[in-house]
C-alpha cells in the first residue's frame, strides 16, 4: 500500500475551507478545524515512527491521554497531534525518528 493512502475517511463536515500544509515536504490539503492528527491521517497512514524501532505510529486515544501522537515540525517544534489544530503552511515531518 503506498504511504499516502489515507487512513481516516471523511464522512461528514466536508464543506469547510481548505488549508494547505506540507507533510514530509509534500504539499497536502486539509480542512480548517482539522486537528493535526486528522490532517495527517486523511493524507496518509502515519504520524511518526516509534523511537524503539517497532514501526510507524498513528495515534491511539485521540483525547490527549496516551501521548502517542506527538509530531515534529520542520522547525523542531513538537505538537500533540490530537489536541492541536492544523494551520496553513505547517510543515510536519513524520519520519524524523528514522533518521536518528
Amino acid at each position: 500500500m503506498p504511504a499516502d493512502t489515507p487512513q481516516f475517511q471523511r464522512l461528514a463536515e466536508i464543506n469547510r475551507p481548505r488549508v494547505l500544509l506540507f507533510i514530509d515536504g509534500r504539499s497536502c490539503a486539509a480542512l480548517a478545524g482539522d486537528t493535526l492528527l486528522t490532517a495527517l491521517l486523511t493524507n496518509g497512514q502515519r504520524l511518526r515512527s516509534s523511537e524503539f524501532g517497532d514501526g510507524p505510529r498513528a495515534g491511539f486515544c485521540l483525547m490527549g491521554a496516551c501521548q502517542d501522537c506527538w509530531v515534529t515540525l520542520e522547525d523542531g517544534t513538537r505538537l500533540r497531534a490530537c489536541t492541536s489544530f492544523v494551520t496553513g503552511g505547517m510543515r510536519i515531518m513524520t519520519r524524523s525518528a528514522d533518521r536518528q
Binding site: 478545524g33 486528522t38 510507524p56
Partner: protein, 453 residues
C-alpha cells in the same frame, strides 16, 4: 483566606454542574479544563465551523448535551473559565497549570477534581499498528472531526461503548466489518434484571444492538483476541470465537476497549488514600457520596472518582459543589441534597448490573502472549515485563516499572497500567489488588521544559 475562589478541574458533566452550582451560590469558581470548550469527552463540542446538529452528534443524548452546554454557557460571565489549560501538579494548596506554553501557580483553598476517564485497554499482538484506536478515540474521530478511522472497521472489546460507537459509525455511513464482544452471552443475560431497572439506558443498549443486526453487521459474543496483522498498517484481525475456532477478518481499522478507567493522578498528588474496588477492578481515590475525601478541601466528582457514567457525573458534580459550599458555611437545601444522593444511589445499582453484563476480561490480560507490546510508550513486551517481575521479584507495580520501564513513558501508564497490573499479579500468582497501582507523578502529562523555567 475565604476570598480565594473555589477551583473546578475539568468541564465535563461533573465539572460543568459543579461550576454552575458554585456560581448559583454567588461564588465565581475558576474552571480549569484541558479542552478548548466545555462538555468533556461525552458531550465534546465540535470545533468552530462544524455544522452537524446536536441530534447528529449526540443521538439519544442530544437534549442532555444541549442542556449541559447551555448551563455552562449561561454562567460564563460569572465564572473564570480557563480552557486549554492543563493542571499538571497539585500539592497542599497550590495548583500548577500550563496554558499557552506557560506554567502558572494558582493557590487554592478548596478544589473539586472532575478529570473524567479514558478507555481501559488490554493490549494484544499487533495493537500498535496504524489504524488501531481506542473505542473512545474512534468516537472522537467521528464526533469531533466527522471522520471514520478507516474504510473497513472492526469493533472489539466489551462495555456499552462498544455498541454505541459501532452504532454511531453505522449511522454515519461507516462500513463495519464486525462487532466482536469478549463477554459471553450468559453474562449479559445474568445482568438483565439489574439493567432493566435503569429503563432508558437499557433500552438504548438494546436499540444499538438491534440497529446493528438490522444493518447486517456481524455481532459475535465470547470472543478472545489473538492478533492484529499488517505491515505498515492493520490489514486483518485474528480471534478465537466462542466455540474455540480461530477466525480472521480483513479490515483496515480496529476500535477496541474494555470499559473505562478513571483519571486519578491529581487525586493521588492531592494525597487522597486509594482503595481497591473489586467491581471495577481498579484502585480508586476514597470519597463518600458527597464527594468529600479524607483530604480537607479536596472533593471528587464524576468518572475520575470511579466509573458511573455521565448522568451520575452531573449529579455528583452538583453534590460535591454543595458539600464545598456547606464546608464554607453556606446553607444548602436539604431536599435537593437528598434527591441528588437518592438518584446517585439508583445509578450505582445500575452500574453494578453493567459490571456483571460487561465484566473486565482479566484473563485476556493475564494470558497475553509474551511477544505483545505491553507498554507502547517504551516498547516493552509482556515477556520482558514478566521476566523482570519474576527474576527481580518485583511484586509491586512501581517496582516492576522501575525494572522494566513499563508505565514509565509519556502516558505514565494510563494505557498499559491496568493490564500491566493484571500481568504482574498473574505472573506471581497473586490476587490482582496485590500489584498495587502506578503512583501519579508530576507533571501528570508532558509539559515543555521551557514552561517551568
Amino acid at each position: 483566606m475565604s476570598d480565594k475562589p473555589p477551583i473546578v478541574v475539568g468541564a465535563g458533566p461533573a465539572g460543568s454542574r459543579a461550576a454552575e452550582t458554585l456560581a448559583a451560590a454567588g461564588l465565581a469558581p475558576i474552571v480549569l479544563d484541558e479542552a478548548p470548550a466545555s462538555g468533556g469527552q461525552i458531550y465534546r463540542r465540535a470545533p468552530a465551523g462544524f455544522t452537524r446538529p446536536y441530534r447528529a452528534l449526540y443521538g439519544f443524548d442530544a437534549a442532555k448535551a444541549r442542556r449541559l452546554h447551555l448551563a455552562f454557557d449561561g454562567i460564563k460571565g460569572s465564572i473564570d473559565h480557563r480552557p486549554d489549560t492543563l493542571v499538571w501538579d497539585l500539592k497542599r494548596g497550590t495548583l500548577h497549570c500550563l496554558c499557552a506554553g506557560r506554567s502558572r501557580e494558582i493557590p487554592y483553598r478548596d478544589v473539586i477534581l472532575a478529570p473524567g476517564a479514558r478507555d481501559r485497554i488490554i493490549p494484544f499482538p499487533g495493537w500498535t499498528l496504524p489504524g488501531i484506536y481506542a473505542l473512545g478515540g474512534a468516537q472522537i474521530a467521528l464526533k469531533y472531526q466527522g471522520c471514520a478511522i478507516g474504510s473497513r472497521i472492526l469493533f472489539m472489546g466489551t462495555g456499552p461503548l462498544l455498541y454505541l460507537v459501532a452504532y454511531q459509525y453505522a449511522k454515519a455511513g461507516g462500513d463495519i466489518v464486525a462487532v466482536l464482544d469478549t463477554t459471553d452471552f450468559a453474562a449479559k443475560r445474568r445482568a438483565v434484571p439489574g439493567l432493566l431497572r435503569s429503563g432508558s439506558t437499557f433500552a438504548k443498549g438494546l436499540w444499538y444492538v438491534a440497529a446493528l443486526h438490522s444493518r447486517g453487521v456481524v455481532v459475535a459474543n465470547g470472543i478472545r483476541p489473538i492478533a492484529a496483522e499488517g505491515k505498515d498498517a492493520v490489514s486483518a484481525f485474528v480471534y478465537r470465537d466462542a466455540a474455540g475456532k480461530e477466525r480472521r477478518i480483513a479490515c483496515d481499522a480496529i476500535a477496541f476497549g474494555f470499559g473505562l478507567s478513571s483519571e486519578t493522578q491529581l487525586a493521588d498528588l492531592a494525597e487522597i488514600p486509594f482503595a481497591f474496588d473489586s467491581a471495577q477492578q481498579q484502585f480508586l481515590p476514597e470519597h463518600d457520596v458527597t464527594g468529600r475525601t479524607p483530604v480537607r478541601g479536596v472533593y471528587l466528582a464524576g468518572d475520575g472518582s470511579g466509573i458511573a457514567g455521565a448522568d451520575a457525573a452531573e449529579l455528583a458534580g452538583e453534590r460535591a459543589a454543595l458539600a464545598l459550599l456547606e464546608d464554607r458555611g453556606y446553607e444548602v437545601g436539604r431536599p435537593r441534597v437528598a434527591a441528588l444522593e437518592r438518584a446517585m444511589r439508583k445509578i450505582a445499582g445500575f452500574r453494578r448490573a453493567l459490571e456483571t453484563a460487561f465484566p473486565f476480561p482479566a484473563d485476556i490480560a493475564a494470558g497475553m502472549p509474551d511477544e505483545t507490546v505491553l507498554c507502547r510508550c517504551e516498547g516493552v513486551t509482556a515477556g520482558e515485563f514478566r521476566s523482570s517481575v519474576r527474576a527481580l521479584d518485583a511484586d509491586e507495580i512501581n517496582r516492576a516499572k522501575a525494572f522494566s520501564r513499563c508505565g514509565m513513558g509519556r502516558c505514565q501508564g494510563r494505557v498499559c497500567g491496568p493490564a500491566a497490573a493484571v500481568v504482574l499479579a498473574a505472573a506471581l500468582n497473586l490476587p490482582p489488588e496485590r500489584s498495587g497501582r502506578l503512583r501519579g507523578q508530576p507533571p501528570v502529562k508532558p509539559i515543555p521544559m521551557a514552561a517551568t523555567t
